[in-house]
């Protein structure tokens, strides 16, 4: 019936037997799958549990003890962002600096987590949610208030700047461990210790 590409051709009865066998096997597998439970997740009635490190939408955080904004307006995230979606203006103040304005164009964001990685104060984090679909693109131009509101609304992922950098650094074992422990204690119970 067709060139076998150089393979030995089987006789007619052998081919027919193989055909019948193949048909039976293939139909058997579809029949077996008929009785398996479907893998469908009934989103949005049922949510799939997000893994700890899920890279969702971005948000700015507050310091849990003092209630102050974590962002010091250093603009490191603005420089590292590959599609340049972050724009920050620094506001100088006496003890520490703040961000005067912080805009993030979520519609162009690549969700690469580089901004989270470089942030020295763990100010910007990614959340365990991606559900921010809108009908108007301007709703995805997140300003500082919106970013803080998102931070309060959804659960943040495990990854923050310091955690990522500590994970990547070559070991200076005692010092690294001490640093991690100190941070976990300092942050208390608000951030879940998921390590």
């Amino acid at each position: 019936m067709a060139a076998n590409g150089g393979r030995p051709a089987l006789g007619f009865w052998r081919e027919t037997a193989q055909l019948v066998g193949a048909v039976g096997r293939a139909m058997g597998i579809t029949l077996r799958n008929l009785f398996r439970k479907p893998v469908t997740v009934h989103y949005p009635d049922v949510q799939r549990p997000y893994p700890d490190r899920f890279r969702g939408i971005l948000a700015l955080t507050y310091d849990p003890e003092t209630g102050e904004e974590n962002c010091i307006g250093c603009r490191l995230c603005e420089y590292v962002c590959p599609p340049q979606v972050i724009k920050v203006e620094m506001l100088k103040a006496t003890k520490r600096n703040y961000a005067k304005t912080f805009t993030l164009e979520l519609y162009a964001c690549e969700f690469c987590e580089l901004c989270v990685q470089v942030c020295p104060t763990d100010a910007i984090v990614m959340l365990k949610s991606f559900d921010l679909a809108t009908a108007d693109r301007r709703d995805l131009l997140l300003d500082k208030d919106r970013l803080h509101a998102l931070g309060r609304e959804f659960e943040p992922s495990w990854a923050t700047g310091n955690r990522l950098r500590d994970m990547q650094a070559p070991p200076k074992p005692a010092r690294a461990e001490a640093k991690v422990e100190a941070k976990v204690e300092a942050k208390g119970e608000t951030k879940e210790p998921t390590e």
């Binding site: 019936m1 048909v23 293939a26 139909m27 597998i29 579809t30 008929l34 479907p38 893998v39």
Partner: protein
């Protein structure tokens, strides 16, 4: 009730036509759910929770409300007429199928012949659709379709003739009556092989995978139907599934004993429906399990394998009937 015969026939036709349309729409839902379960997913679910009961109605409404787009360079007459020419034979075949010993629109004494002849007329509508669309893909598909359906109609007819020979009549109710003892699908060798040949020829005549080269969504993007949308597409879809169900009904009638089954006589039509649905599901099961084969291979299977096989089968049946007749008197 003593209505004049014309009124009775018209009433019967009206009832059957509506019943078939309803059955066909829900056959699409059945196929979608069945296929979905075989693929580890759930089929239609949300429209008419929890099992999508209203999905076919929703689809029908959507298609009715769609804009009627006709390609600018299409041959308007042929293009507009094609779905109708496609649909009418597919509906007409149900006229000859009796659903119970006395329940049918027209239980002709050449019932099987009429069925087979009229069901082949859909090719005309198909080719009109491909031609009138003024689209190279549609034309390619229509040409393949003519090739394939004509090639497979012959084995289809010969496979369907085996029960006719075994029963000795072209009348459908007589064929069912002849299966009182043993259904023809289980008749040693010739019945069983004829049933398999019938199923294979049905797959091909219906353009179902593995013989669906004429649609070939991944190559020709819907084949001859590519330029149709809205209600015309609905008519074509209706015609396809009606033809599919029609050949399933014929298969159930010729091979699986029609309305014969345990229980009281009024259960007969329900058994018939169940058997037809079973044939439909088997064809669907095959459809969702295999990849398709090329058009030259399809034609090779038909002319080199299926046609000689069914011819031999027919000869063997004739021989069996002749010796049975001579022996039994």
């Amino acid at each position: 009730m003593t209505l004049p015969p014309v009124a009775r026939a018209a009433l019967g036709a009206f009832i059957v036509l509506n019943a078939i349309i309803l059955l066909v729409t829900y056959a699409t839902l059945l196929e979608r759910k069945f296929a979905a379960r075989m693929q580890s997913r759930i089929g239609p679910y949300y429209v008419g929770r929890p099992h999508g009961w209203l999905q076919p109605i929703a689809d029908a409404l959507k298609l009715m409300l769609k804009e009627d787009v006709v390609p600018a360079a299409a041959d308007r007459g042929v293009y507009n007429l094609a779905p109708v020419v496609f649909l009418v034979p597919c509906m007409l075949i149900f006229a000859t199928i009796p659903f119970a010993p006395e329940l049918g629109v027209a239980d002709l004494n050449i019932g099987v012949l009429f069925f087979l002849a009229v069901s082949s007329l859909e090719i005309v509508g198909l080719f009109m659709g491909g031609w009138g669309s003024n689209n190279k893909y549609a034309l390619l598909s229509a040409m393949r379709a003519v090739n394939q359906i004509i090639s497979y109609d012959l084995p289809f007819i010969f496979a369907a003739l085996v029960p006719v020979l075994l029963a000795g009549s072209l009348q459908m109710s007589a064929i069912v009556a002849a299966q009182q003892g043993l259904w023809f699908a289980f008749y040693p060798v010739i019945g069983q092989l004829a049933f398999v040949a019938y199923l294979v020829a049905t797959l091909a005549a219906e353009n179902r995978v593995p013989f669906d080269i004429l649609e070939a969504e991944s190559e020709l993007v819907a084949g001859f139907r590519v330029e149709y949308s809205g209600m015309k597409f609905a008519l074509i879809q209706l015609g396809e599934y009606a033809h599919m169900l029609g050949t399933s009904f014929l298969g159930a009638l010729l091979f699986l004993g029609g309305w014969l089954g345990p229980g009281p006589a009024w259960l007969g039509p329900l058994w018939f429906l169940a058997k037809a649905v079973l044939v439909f599901l088997v064809v669907t099961w095959v459809r969702w399990s295999f990849v398709r084969i090329r058009v030259d291979q399809i034609l090779a299977i038909s002319w080199k394998l299926l046609l000689p096989a069914t011819l031999v089968l027919l000869l063997a049946t004739g021989f069996v009937v002749a010796t049975r007749g001579a022996g039994g008197g």
